[in-house]
Amino acid sequence: MKKKVLSALMAVAMISSLLAGCSSKTENSSTETQTTETKSTEAQTTETESTESSYDIVVMPKLIGIPYFTQTGEGAKQAGEELGVNVIYNGPTTADAAEQVKMLEDYITQGVDAICVAPNDAAALDPVLKKAKEAGILVLDWDTEATKDLVDASIHQIDDQELGEHLAQKLVDYMGTEDGEYAIITGSLSASNLNTWIQYAKEYMEAKYPNMKLVTDPVGTDEKQTEALSKTKDLLKAYPDLKGIIAVSTPAPIGAAQAIAELGLQDQVSVVGTAVKEDCQEVLADGSLDLGCLWNTQDLGYLTVAVAKSLLDGNQLTDGMEVEGFGTIQVSGDKNVILGPPEDYVK
C-alpha cells in the first residue's frame, strides 16, 4: 500500500510539473508571437516617425487571471501603445515566486531593456534580479516591494500610511461618533501590505480617537467573500455593540456589507474598506457599504511603464519630475514613486 501511495504521489508530482511546464511555455510563446508582431508593426511606424528604437519592458504581476492584475495589465499595455514601447505583461497563473524566477531568467536571456516585477517573495527574487542588473537591465518593482538595493525605482500604488489613516478617519466620519466599538476584518493574516494598513489604521485610531475601541484582533477571511459574510455576522453576535467595521482586501468589504444588509443594520453599523470600484456598486447602492476606496489600478500599470521608459531615456528620478504620458509624479525617499491618494467610491 505504501508503495502504491508513493507511486501515486510521484505521478502527481510529475504530472503537475508537466502541466506547469506546458502552461508557462504556451504563455511564453503566445506573448513572444505577440511581441514580435507588435515589434514588426512598430518598426514600420518608427521608421516613418522617428529613428528612436523602442524598448522591451517586462511587467510581471504576482499572478495573471485575477481582476486586479488584469486591470493593471490593461494600463501597462495602454502605456506601451501610447509611449511607443513594447510592453510584455506576463506572470505565473498562481502567486508563485519560483515560477516568477524561471520566467525572469528567460526574459534576461532574451535581453529585454527593463524588468518591472511585483514579487511574490522579495528574498526569493534577489538572485535573479541581481543577475538582471549585472546584465545591464533596468529593474523596478511595483505593487509590492522587492529588495531595496536591487531596484532602480519602486512604484507604490499608495502611501500605506495615508491609506490606513484614511480608512480609520472615514470610519469615524461615517459612524458619526468618536466613542464606539469597531472591528477589523482582513483578507489574510499573513499579507504584509494588509497588515501594514491595519497597523497604521490602529495607530491613528489610538492616537486621535482614544475612545474608539477595537473589539478583537483583525479577523482573517481567506480572501473569500463568503468568509467575510459569515465572520461579520459572528462578530455582530459576539459584540452586539459593534458600530463600525474596517475591511481590507477587496472581497472583504463586500462580504461584510452583505452581512449588514441581510441583518438590516445599514443605519446602525458603518462599513468602510478597500474594494474594486466595479464590484462594490451593488452594496454601495443599498447603503450597506458606506465607502469603498482603492487606487486606480489601470493607472498603476501605466505609471510603472511610464517611469521605466523615462529612466531608460536617461532621466534621473526626482520628486515632482515630469513623466511622459503621466504628468508630474510624487517621489518619496530616493526611489519610491507614489501613484497618488486613494480614490473614494461612495453611493
Binding site: G65, D217, T226, G264
Partner: protein, 332 residues
C-alpha cells in the same frame, strides 16, 4: 447506550456536545435559532459538496477537481443568468449538467485509462481551472437577476423576531438537507450504494460478486460533479456574484470535512450521518471561536487541535475494536 458509544460517530458527537456546552456557557448568542440557522447556511456549500465527496471516499477514490468544477459551474450559471431570461430551475439543471460532465470525464479517465483517481482528478482540476481563467480573465460576474436574489433570501417559515427580521429555514439549508437525504437513500437502499461500499472494501471481491465496477465508479464521480453543480448555484445565491477565484482550496476543506465525519481515505467506511456531524463540527468551530471571543491568532491553533482530537478518538475506537477481534481469533 452501550451500542451508542460503540457507534463510529460517537467520538465526533462527543466533541460536538462538549463544544456546544462550553460555547453556550461563554456566549449567550450561540444556542439561538438564528445562530444555528446561520451556521447551517454558511456551511451549506461545503456540506453539499461533502455529500458528493462521501461516496467517492467510500469507494476508495478521491476527487480533487471539485474546487475547479464548482468555479466552472458557478461561472456558467452566472453567465446563463445574466445573458438569458430564464428561471431558477433551468439554472440548477445547467449547473448540474456541467458538474456531471466533469464527473463523467473524471470517471472515464479513471476506469478506461486506469489512471489513479488522485492523478486523474488533479489533471482535470488544472484543466478546468485553466478553462475558467481563460473564459473569465478572473473578472467577477455581477448584476444577477431579481428572481435569483429572491431565491437567495427565500425562507421556509416566517417567524418574526424582535429586531424586525423574520426567522425561517433558508433555501440553501433546505437544499443541504435534501442532498443529505438523497445521498443517504442512495447509499443505503440502492444496489449502486451497496456496490460503492463493496468496491471500497475490496475491488476484486466486488468484481467477483458481480458488480459492474466501472459503471459504478463513473456514477460516483458524476454524482460528485452533480453535487458540485448544486453547490455552485447555492454559493452564488448567497454571495450574489461570481468570483472565479474564491473557490481556491475548497477541495481540502470538503475532503477534511468528510474525513472528520469518520470516512477513511482508504475506502470502505463512511456514513451520511458521520459526514453530517463533520459539517456541523466544522461550522461550530468557525462560528464558535469568534463567539467565544478567542483571539484571532489562536483560532487556527484551537481549530487544528479540535480536528486532531476528533479524528484520534475515532481512530482509537476503531483500533480497540480491531484488537478485540484479533484476540477472539487467537483464543478461538
Amino acid at each position: 447506550m452501550k451500542k451508542f458509544t460503540k457507534r463510529k460517530e460517537f467520538g465526533i458527537i462527543l466533541i460536538i456536545l462538549i463544544m456546544s456546552f462550553i460555547l453556550t456557557i461563554v456566549s449567550s448568542a450561540f444556542l439561538k435559532a438564528d445562530n444555528i440557522i446561520d451556521i447551517l447556511r454558511n456551511n451549506a456549500v461545503y456540506g453539499i459538496m461533502a455529500f458528493g465527496m462521501l461516496p467517492v471516499l467510500i469507494s476508495g477514490g478521491i476527487d480533487l477537481s471539485v474546487a475547479s468544477s464548482i468555479a466552472l459551474c458557478a461561472v456558467v450559471a452566472g453567465k446563463i443568468m445574466t445573458v438569458f431570461d430564464t428561471n431558477i430551475v433551468i439554472v440548477f439543471i445547467i449547473s448540474m449538467l456541467v458538474g456531471a460532465l466533469i464527473g463523467l470525464i473524471n470517471g472515464l479517465i479513471i476506469t478506461k485509462l486506469k489512471i489513479a483517481p488522485m492523478v486523474a482528478t488533479l489533471g482535470i482540476m488544472t484543466v478546468t481551472l485553466g478553462v475558467v481563467l481563460l473564459y473569465t480573465g478572473g473578472t467577477w460576474i455581477s448584476g444577477l437577476p431579481e428572481y435569483f436574489k429572491e431565491f437567495g433570501m427565500a425562507k421556509l417559515g416566517n417567524i418574526p423576531t424582535k429586531n424586525g427580521l423574520t426567522l425561517g429555514i433558508p433555501s440553501q439549508v433546505i437544499i443541504l438537507i435534501l442532498s443529505g437525504v438523497v445521498t443517504w437513500l442512495m447509499l443505503r437502499y440502492t444496489l449502486i450504494g451497496r456496490g460503492i461500499y463493496a468496491i471500497g472494501g475490496s475491488e476484486a471481491s466486488a468484481v467477483r460478486v458481480g458488480y459492474n465496477v466501472d459503471k459504478i465508479k463513473v456514477f460516483i464521480y458524476m454524482y460528485s460533479g452533480i453535487m458540485t453543480g448544486i453547490a455552485a448555484v447555492v454559493h452564488t445565491s448567497i454571495v450574489q456574484q461570481v468570483d472565479p477565484n474564491t473557490f481556491l482550496g475548497y477541495e481540502l476543506t470538503v475532503i477534511s470535512t468528510v474525513v472528520i465525519g469518520g470516512a477513511s481515505t482508504m475506502g470502505g467506511v463512511g456514513t451520511v450521518l458521520g459526514t453530517t456531524f463533520g459539517i456541523i463540527l466544522m461550522g461550530i468551530l468557525q462560528n464558535g471561536l469568534i463567539l467565544a471571543k478567542i483571539p484571532t491568532y489562536w483560532q487556527k491553533i484551537v481549530m487544528g487541535l479540535v480536528i486532531l482530537i476528533a479524528i484520534s478518538v475515532d481512530v482509537i475506537n476503531r483500533k480497540r475494536e480491531q484488537s478485540k477481534l484479533v484476540r477472539v481469533d487467537v483464543e478461538g
